[in-house]
């Protein structure tokens, strides 16, 4: 642990607060603050302070992108392909352009182009009213030549299936973290495999005393953000300003600069309130490009808000997957080999893998996986809350449950043997007590038509860090404090935890901090995806606040007659550490500033102790995030209805910054997982390739009456890895829910449901209660 000019040694408390903390020494940069004590010693961090935007949101004052109304603003609409696969033969926009209300038309596809899914944009119009834009759409003459198509994952794999892509149109690769690297072979519609391998799997299976095998499938889930994808693009001679409901203002700014050949400095992206994203609002999107193109052509601001049908059809979705898992184990449960094969489809794009959870969750020396993407003529998938690992866990955690059954081991005892994580061990212990695991019976043991069961599953998610994340903290002479970053708050409470972090440093209350975020005029913040916003932005927020506080100390010290190093900030005061009777009110100290404001900025430094892996602009922390979830279900074996009665979610996210907000987010993760497990499925008509349920009516979802009793327990875990030691929770809280419910259903009825969603039809079929045709009563 050598100190240097740039770093010094600091001692961090590490471990779980509930089981006792240890200490570790780490090198930290000299220009960063000392270790943040555990929450018990803090005033603002770790407290459930109200959301900084709550007042605006409960009064309707919060401005979302759909609420932006600029002077002279036009309304954009998109003409979309009515066929799942077509060649555009003709596109005539003249009549639409002559509509008196129309100010611009924009071809998106050219005659000759292949249109590879139902709903892909063909052209855009901008008009003075939404009605005029809609009327203009009807005036566009477009000719389509129908081409053979395939919208079914299995049929697309057949050798004579209609090809979705040719070698030039196929996307080159997907770096978003779900195995779809560049350069993989494409055979028909099947691309891959992406391979992963360690040890000797053949030997592992040869040494196995028990082998379990299973195949699991998951369906396409749509994000269903309440606020549709929306943009207001304002193209002017001196630059482009875009208001957008986006999860990544800084990223969209780069995309815009590149797509439209603009200097970065001439592009500004603003995201006010954002009505949910869940992965689907991570980039500019086709509608975003169209809005900017229309604004450039019309020389006026253009707003595009997707209609709900467009939102459900072409705003991203969680890919469908099929996976086959084979586990080999010794009689004591020790895993000797895991083999995974998967085929998934993200429609016309890539990224339909089942993640890395099978490789990483349990100790197993021999592992192999082959993951394939399959193209179909369907709208492109994208990241959605725990991409890869969510469908991956649905397979893996059922296979582990199956293995426990075969070994006659309690599923928790098996995991105690094969799961190396001490954090999850504690989570299992806590969760088992809360759900009443000891009353779990043998599968299908209850008599009577309604059978109850308990299940458990685990979650794993890499702790992502955006290493470019930056933040500025300003203190004004009048005592007001601002924290600024382009990071956006999609509803997770990012702004609130930033305010808490800054307030803790400055000895103020969270509500004393003005949060100014979601604007690329501020230092570039991280994206709000990958559960990385908190881990990326709160450390630089603390560092920047600490730096600007040192400046304030220097200016205040002479008035208190001590050296700046003798001062601390606490309780709204600047006081002498070893003589708390000597102090100035924070506002009195700032009033003595030489300038109107002082300011400091910071960029996310590397994790203390280093990263596990680096990527461009991002990195993975040494440890993963996760959690353990328990579900209690009641299955009516005569109607096939599954009711989830109770869920206990025990989660970890490093240092919890705001327990109430974390609880809210875990509720969201559990409910999205429950909904995925029981209800959600994008249904494509096999004969026409159109989604038949692109709405919030026939696309079935969990709503208030489907909400179980949810108990959330969040561990307080310290790692000593950053200035706040805080990490995200959104995705870890979603991954384990569906397999926990599936395992509970198995425990209830003694039959395993290996396909999502677990509808009444699926349950009744699994129980053998649906007469086949020809054997009707």
């Amino acid at each position: 642990m050598a100190e240097s000019e740039a770093s010094r040694t600091a001692t961090f408390a590490v471990g779980l607060a509930s089981t006792g903390l240890d200490e570790v020494e780490r090198q930290i940069p000299r220009d960063e603050p000392p270790p943040l004590p555990p929450n018990a010693e803090l005033a603002v961090i770790g407290k459930s302070v109200p959301r900084q935007d709550a007042f605006a949101k409960v009064t309707g004052a919060a401005l979302f992108t759909v609420d932006i109304n600029l002077p002279g603003m036009l309304h954009g609409r998109i003409l979309r392909s009515p066929l799942p696969h077509a060649r555009l033969r003709a596109l005539d926009l003249a009549a639409a352009a002559r509509h008196p209300g129309v100010r611009a038309v924009l071809p998106v596809a050219q005659p000759g182009d292949s249109l590879r899914y139902f709903g892909v944009p063909v052209a855009g119009v901008a008009a003075v009213s939404a009605q005029a834009a809609e009327e203009a759409l009807a005036l566009i003459h477009a000719g389509f030549e129908a081409l053979p198509f395939v919208v079914d994952l299995d049929k697309a794999r057949e050798p004579d299936a209609p090809p979705v892509h040719d070698s030039t149109s196929a996307p080159p690769g997907n770096s978003s973290g779900f195995p779809a690297p560049a350069g993989l072979p494409l055979n028909g519609n099947v691309r891959g495999p992406a391979l992963m391998q360690r040890g000797d799997v053949a030997r592992g299976f040869a040494e196995a005393e028990v082998i379990v095998e299973g195949a699991y499938s998951t369906k396409v889930q749509t994000h269903c953000c309440l606020e549709p994808h929306a943009i207001v693009a304002d193209w002017r001679e001196d630059g482009l300003t875009v208001f957008m409901s986006t999860q990544f203002t800084a990223g969209v700014r780069h995309e815009l600069a590149e797509a439209f050949g603009l200097p970065l400095a001439r592009v500004r992206v603003i995201a006010g309130a954002i009505g949910g994203g869940f992965g689907s609002k991570s980039s500019l999107g086709n509608y975003g490009r169209i809005a900017v193109g229309l604004s450039r052509a019309a020389k006026a601001p253009v707003r595009i808000v997707l209609e709900r049908q467009e939102e459900q059809m072409d705003a991203g979705n969680r890919p469908a997957t099929w996976q086959s898992l084979r586990l080999g184990a010794r009689k004591d449960g020790t895993l000797s080999a895991i083999s995974l094969l998967s085929y998934g489809t993200a429609g016309v794009t890539l990224g339909a893998g089942v993640g890395g959870i099978a490789a990483a969750l349990y100790t197993c020396p021999n592992f192999e996986s082959a993951q394939y993407d399959v193209f179909i003529n369907a709208a492109p998938g994208c990241a959605m809350r725990g991409p890869g690992n969510t469908p991956g866990a649905f397979g893996l955690e059922q296979a582990i449950d199956e293995l426990a059954g075969r070994l006659a081991l309690d599923p928790l005892a098996l995991r105690d043997r094969i799961d190396p994580s001490p954090v999850r061990r504690e989570e299992r212990r806590i969760g088992a007590a809360r759900i009443g695991w000891q009353r779990r019976h043998a599968p299908g043991a209850e008599s009577g038509p309604v059978k109850r069961g308990l299940g458990v599953a685990q979650s794993l998610w890499p702790a992502n860090v955006q290493t470019t994340a930056a933040c500025e903290v300003r203190i004004m002479r009048n005592g007001s404090v601002e924290v600024l970053s382009s990071v956006q708050d999609i509803g997770t409470g990012t702004g609130t935890v930033m305010a808490q972090t800054v307030a803790e440093v400055l000895g103020l209350r969270a509500q004393d901090i003005t949060v100014r975020i979601g604007d690329t005029d501020f230092p570039p913040g991280p994206p709000s995806y990958g559960s990385r916003a908190t881990a990326s932005i709160t450390p630089p927020a603390r560092v920047a606040a600490w730096r600007v506080l040192q400046t304030l100390f220097q200016e205040a010290a002479p008035f208190l007659g001590v050296a700046p190093e003798a001062l601390i900030a606490h309780g709204g005061r600047i006081l002498v550490a070893n003589n708390p009777g000597r102090f100035m009110l924070f506002g009195d100290a700032t009033a003595r500033l030489h300038t109107g404001k002082i300011s400091a900025a910071a960029t996310r430094s590397d994790d203390y102790g280093g990263f596990r892996r680096r990527m461009p602009d991002a990195a993975l922390a040494l440890q993963d995030l996760g959690g353990v979830q328990f579900a209690a279900v009641a299955v009516d074996t005569e109607t096939g209805i599954i009711r989830v009665e109770r869920v206990v979610a025990v989660q970890d996210c490093g240092r919890p910054l705001n327990p109430k907000q974390i609880e809210s987010q875990v509720h969201g993760g559990v409910l999205m997982g429950l909904s995925y497990a029981l209800f959600e499925e994008r249904l494509l008509d096999q004969h026409t390739g159109r989604m038949v349920n692109p709405d919030l009516e026939q696309y079935k979802l969990a709503r208030p009456r489907e909400v179980p009793d949810i108990e959330v327990v969040v561990l307080e875990e310290y790692r000593g890895q950053s200035a706040t030691d805080a990490y995200g929770i959104a995705e870890p809280a979603n991954i384990a829910t569906a397999p926990a419910i599936a395992n509970a259903v198995y425990n209830a009825i003694g039959v395993r449901l290996c396909a999502l969603p677990m509808t009444p039809a699926a349950v009744l079929a699994a129980l053998g209660k649906i007469p086949r045709r020809g054997e009707l009563p």
């Binding site: 109607t639 096999q686 038949v692 009456r705 039809a761 009744l764």
Partner: protein, 346 residues
């Protein structure tokens, strides 16, 4: 949505005259945008109508509101001890009406949980009965299906998990009204009035139109006619009724299956009269005649309920994705019969 002119009818005759065409007929011609004469239609709560207009399944030149018509939004006892429910009574008011709750609890139950409170505060019983089916092919402008004047039913070989298991050879819709399931079981009469002031009374069961009679409509409402009231006959003392429904979800969802049972039992618990009506099963509420026949004269016990439930499904013709409805209906029918019998002796 194309713009239209708006009017408010002050009399039933004016209202009927304003309905130049039925919604079903208006939807048979493909929507036009180039100024051809469109339909003149009437609107009460208008939830379904607005949905059709927004989806461009229907265009109207003129819409006349029925909300000013006197007497259409009241519930009264009839002279013979039955109930007369104005067609413009909202589902919310119907569900909380003391008269309905006391005498026809199954009807209150069927409407109390339909859609959402927001919808029930606006939607009317008349509109609920006249709403067009929820079949997703019917509801998408891209599909010119048989019911909209096109060539075939897309559901029969398509996505049909929520479709009919009876009478589904031509068109596989299910009737969308849950209230209708109970009203048919109760022997309700609908009253229509035409532009000349003439009233027409017809049993709801006969008012509803199965596909083989006319695949383009779900009821026999005529042009220049409006639905004015639904009348429920008086009940025999001791009549018991139960409505059970099962949706995929319990919040804001259409039923996968619903069942209305109405019984008259004699002193020995022997069934003197039985109505067994299945909703979400067929293009119109489906009377399970075989089940009714089994119950007639039987003492209602577990065995009778089981036999009746089994018989009810005997002539079902499930499609490739809705076979699960058979065990589901069998369960609901059995449970509904037993619940009705239990109620009787509670």
């Amino acid at each position: 949505m194309r713009n239209f002119t708006w009017g408010q009818a002050q009399t039933v005759m004016d209202a009927a005259a304003a309905a130049s065409v039925t919604v079903a007929d208006a939807m048979l011609s493909p929507p036009n945008t180039n100024g051809q004469a469109g339909a003149s239609i009437v609107k009460a709560g208008g939830i379904d109508l607005l949905d059709l207009l927004k989806e461009k399944l229907l265009t109207a030149d003129r819409i006349t509101s029925l909300k000013e018509l006197p007497g259409l939004d009241v519930i009264t006892r009839t002279e013979d001890g039955g109930l007369r429910i104005g067609a413009a009574v909202t589902l919310a008011n119907l569900a909380r009406s003391p008269l309905v709750l006391r005498h026809y609890p199954a009807l209150a139950n069927a409407t109390a949980h339909a859609a959402s409170p927001q919808i029930r505060n606006v939607a009317t019983l008349g509109g609920n009965l006249l709403q067009r089916p929820r079949c997703w092919y019917f509801r998408a402008a891209e599909y010119r299906c048989l019911r909209k004047g096109g060539g075939h039913c897309f559901a029969i070989h398509g996505e049909n998990q929520y479709h009919a298991i009876f009478d589904n050879q031509l068109c596989a819709i299910v009737h969308p009204s849950t209230a209708a399931t109970v009203l048919v079981a109760l022997g309700a009469i609908v009253e229509c009035a035409d532009a000349m002031g003439a009233a027409r009374r017809v049993r709801l069961e006969d008012f509803l139109v199965p596909p083989d009679e006319d695949v383009h409509r779900e009821n026999s409402l005529r042009a220049q006619e409006i639905l004015t009231a639904i009348e429920l006959p008086a009940l025999n003392p001791g009549t018991r009724m139960v409505h059970l429904k099962q949706g995929e979800t319990d919040s804001f969802d259409w039923p996968l299956a619903d069942v209305a049972i109405v019984f008259d039992l004699d002193a020995e618990r022997r069934c003197k009269r039985a109505a067994v009506i299945l909703g979400a099963a067929a293009p119109v509420p489906h009377r399970a005649k075989a089940a009714e026949a089994i119950l007639l004269g039987r003492i209602i016990d577990e065995e009778a309920a089981k036999d009746a439930a089994h018989a009810a499904l005997a002539d079902a013709t499930p499609l490739h994705k809705n076979g699960y409805k058979l065990p589901l209906f069998e369960t609901l029918i059995r449970r509904a019969i037993l619940r009705a019998a239990a109620d009787l002796h509670a």
